[in-house]
């Protein structure tokens, strides 16, 4: 699998990884394995010098049997018994790849490079959390089992103590993928050590950022991975019940989760004495009504308990006192999906991917003004430029890039000079945005930054639960100011007011929703202050998005056909037939009907 490529580098210099997926097995990978044993004997090689691995489907079934040989991560296809001899002699002993068998491609530890046939999009990606998404039938537990599904769980139950599991997650350097980036292993450790009669594990699938669909896709594409992570988490912290909190507006994801839970139960993977061990664990689904604030962990817990979804001050943290007052481990969908890989391939391998403080990969939902909108998973440390221009294919119609918004309504807008920021929790925070759960919206020159800020603030203002004053009242006032700026009624001092309000709301709000709500506004003021000033002082919107700030006028191209005059509902157009018309700015309501009606392209805006 994808994860094999790099890990072996750490372990041994010479490695043979033989694909053992159903396709290759059919084409003789089993016979190849026994031939390999014979070859080793003949050539006097030992397994201590040359590591031999079996891997799950590498996705190159058409060229099977496939093997990957290190040094060089050379990929060989259509390997027959006779070829094996040559590979051992030339590559393993003499270190020279056998050119005629090589499947050539810039693979970048990516198992998809052939399966998907679209290398530009997948070449820079690395899929850990989404490793099976788009590969297997998500409604078939057989498909998952065939790709070594639930083997991480079985390994944990067979040979690891809960402490060892916690230690492995700690060493992996995995951090919460919901946005805040708290070290996952520490959270597990706190929950494990907390005293409580009963402990709970929760999967936070309450994805609410506008335009974000990472969790939905992960669950819809591979629900068993999430389940496996949750069960392992339950074992590690000593819980016997897991709850998946998912919003009701994800019906397909819910259906697939229900099926996954049912199938897993039938296979003895959920329930009493899992896989014949003495560990018992059950998982159930709780539906959320779609309130954004319920993504906040304490609000989510209240919602499960049947109370109103409102946050409470922390501490105590849920790891000490969570659901029904018991120690509760709560992680995001993507975090859970990483767990089986960490167990299967080890913390050493996992922490070899990414940057110093942010390990592994991150899934992003790339949307907005970008050619390839979609879901991408990249190693931490990939730059924004690589995601938007290499994977995303750049801006449509070759328009100019203006900004990228990360982290949804809690994040910020970064202009062009930040494009080479490597993606990790710290770098994005330094640049003035956040990692967030993975929303990424690309903005081109046609969009108004004040309008974008207003859009996100309108969202958070709507979703504010109303418990604490700074968030409830503050976002409302900020929205009013932003609205009047976009409508051309901005006043001197509005920018300063927004900044002061924003800073206060950030400091004084109870939960993450309020603490981060001003971010889109503050970051656009910081990076695009001149646009705010134009709106306020010159009553001008350079993108033309703020309709109220447009001024309509008629050029010399007018032939006097009277079409505009007829459609104008305000009677603002004057002029006689066959003479150039004019628009009375005082009367104009900026509805744009004259522009739509003109066949001579003579109505313009400024």
């Amino acid at each position: 699998m994808a994860e094999k490529y790099k890990r072996d580098d750490v372990v041994a210099a010479r490695v043979i990884t033989l694909c053992d997926g159903p396709g290759c097995m059919h084409k003789g990978s089993k016979e190849l394995l026994s031939a390999l044993k014979d070859g080793f004997r003949e050539k006097g090689l030992s397994y201590r010098d040359v590591k031999v691995n079996l891997s799950g489907c590498l996705g190159m079934c058409a060229r099977g049997p496939v093997m990957i040989v290190n040094p060089g991560y050379t990929i060989y296809g259509n390997v027959g018994k006779a070829d094996l001899e040559e590979i051992l002699e030339e590559h393993i002993i003499k270190g020279k790849p056998v050119a005629r068998l090589v499947i050539e491609e810039n693979h970048l530890y990516n198992k998809f490079f052939r399966v998907f046939g679209d290398v530009g999009f997948f070449g820079k990606q690395m899929r850990i959390a989404l490793r099976n998404c788009g590969i297997i039938d998500p409604e078939s537990i057989d498909d998952y089992l065939a790709l070594r599904g639930y083997e991480a769980l079985a390994r944990v139950l067979s040979s690891m103590s809960p402490e060892e599991v916690v230690e492995e997650v700690k060493r992996s350097g995995l951090r919460g993928r919901g946005g805040a980036g708290f070290p996952t292993g520490l959270k597990w450790d706190f929950t494990r050590k907390a005293a409580g009669e009963k402990k709970y594990v929760i999967c936070n699938a309450d994805e609410g950022d506008p335009g974000a669909f990472m969790d939905r896709s992960a669950i819809e594409g591979d629900p068993h991975t999430v389940l496996e992570g949750i069960i392992i988490g339950g074992y590690a912290v000593g819980a016997s019940r897991g709850i998946i909190y998912i919003r009701a507006e994800y019906p397909l994801a819910i259906r697939r989760l229900e099926k996954a839970i049912k199938d897993a139960r039938e296979h003895g993977i959920i329930g009493e004495n899992i896989l014949g061990s003495d560990f018992s664990f059950d998982v159930e689904i709780k539906l959320g009504a779609g309130a954004f604030v319920c993504g906040e962990e304490t609000a989510l817990i209240h919602s499960i308990e049947g109370s109103r979804g409102m946050p409470r001050p922390r501490p105590p943290f849920p790891s000490v006192s969570g659901l029904f007052g018991e120690p509760t481990l709560i992680n995001n969908v993507e975090t859970w999906a990483n767990i089986p890989v960490i167990i299967m391939d080890g913390a050493d391998w996992f922490s070899s991917v990414g940057t110093e403080k942010s390990k592994g990969t991150k899934v992003f939902a790339v949307a907005g003004k970008v050619r390839n909108t979609g879901l991408v998973e990249v190693p931490m440390g990939t730059t924004l430029r690589e995601i938007i221009f290499d994977i995303g294919g750049g801006i449509p119609e070759d328009k100019k890039f203006k900004a990228v918004q990360t982290g949804g309504p809690s994040g910020g807008c970064l202009p062009e000079e930040y494009l080479d920021t490597p993606i990790d929790y710290e770098s994005l925070a330094r640049a003035g945005s956040i990692m967030g759960s993975g929303g990424m919206i690309v903005i081109d020159e046609d969009s108004c930054m004040v309008g974008i800020a207003r859009f996100f603030l309108e969202f958070t203002q709507n979703e504010s639960c109303g418990k604490c004053t700074p968030c409830r009242e503050g976002t409302k006032r900020m929205l009013e100011i932003l609205t009047r700026i976009t409508e051309g009624r901005g006043m001197e001092g509005d920018i300063e007011k927004l900044e002061r309000l924003g800073k206060t709301i950030k400091k004084a709000s109870l939960c993450g929703l309020g603490q981060s709500a001003p971010n889109p506004v503050l970051s656009t003021i910081k990076n695009f202050r001149e646009e705010y000033e134009e709106h306020i002082k010159e009553k001008k919107c350079r993108s033309g998005e703020c309709r109220n700030l447009l001024e309509y006028y008629i050029t010399e191209d007018c032939v006097g056909c009277t079409a505009c005059k007829k459609v104008c509902p305000a009677g603002a157009v004057t002029g006689s037939p066959r003479e150039r018309h004019a628009i009375d700015i005082e009367k104009c309501i900026k509805c744009g009907q004259c522009l739509a009606a003109c066949k001579f392209n003579a109505v313009k805006t400024a």
Binding site: V115, P138, E139, G221
Partner: protein, 118 residues
């Protein structure tokens, strides 16, 4: 007592057998994207067209669904993995394209280059 790890290996072998029993080793495997986004783009109808083709006697084809691979702007997607050929993924598959794929690719083995996601 059987160890969980042996237990899961046995389950894996059984699962592989069941998958193969369903025709996984056919020369062509066809995967239709069936995530919410793909369904919204019309993939249910595409799936039905392929299912109908199989019902009406299209042989040596293993038909399955899959989750989202991330190519939102090109959905619905249909992936064809054919033995001995580079796997391809077709984008923006409408009913007309689906029928063409069945006729030209699945029946005659011709890859329809212009619809392949590059």
């Amino acid at each position: 007592m059987v160890k969980p790890i042996d237990n899961i290996k046995k389950k894996r072998a059984e699962a592989v057998n069941r998958i193969i029993g369903k025709g996984y080793l056919s020369t062509k495997r066809v995967y239709v994207g069936m995530a919410t986004c793909e369904i919204a783009a019309g993939s249910k109808e595409i799936m039905q067209i392929f299912e109908e083709a199989v019902r009406k006697g299209l042989t040596d084809v293993y038909l399955s669904q899959k989750g989202c691979a991330g190519r939102c702007n090109l959905e619905p997607t249909v992936e064809v993995i054919e033995e001995g050929k580079i796997p391809v993924k077709y984008g923006k598959v409408d009913p007309e394209r689906a029928r063409e794929i069945i006729e030209r690719h699945l029946k005659k083995g011709e890859i329809i280059e212009e619809w392949v996601i590059k």
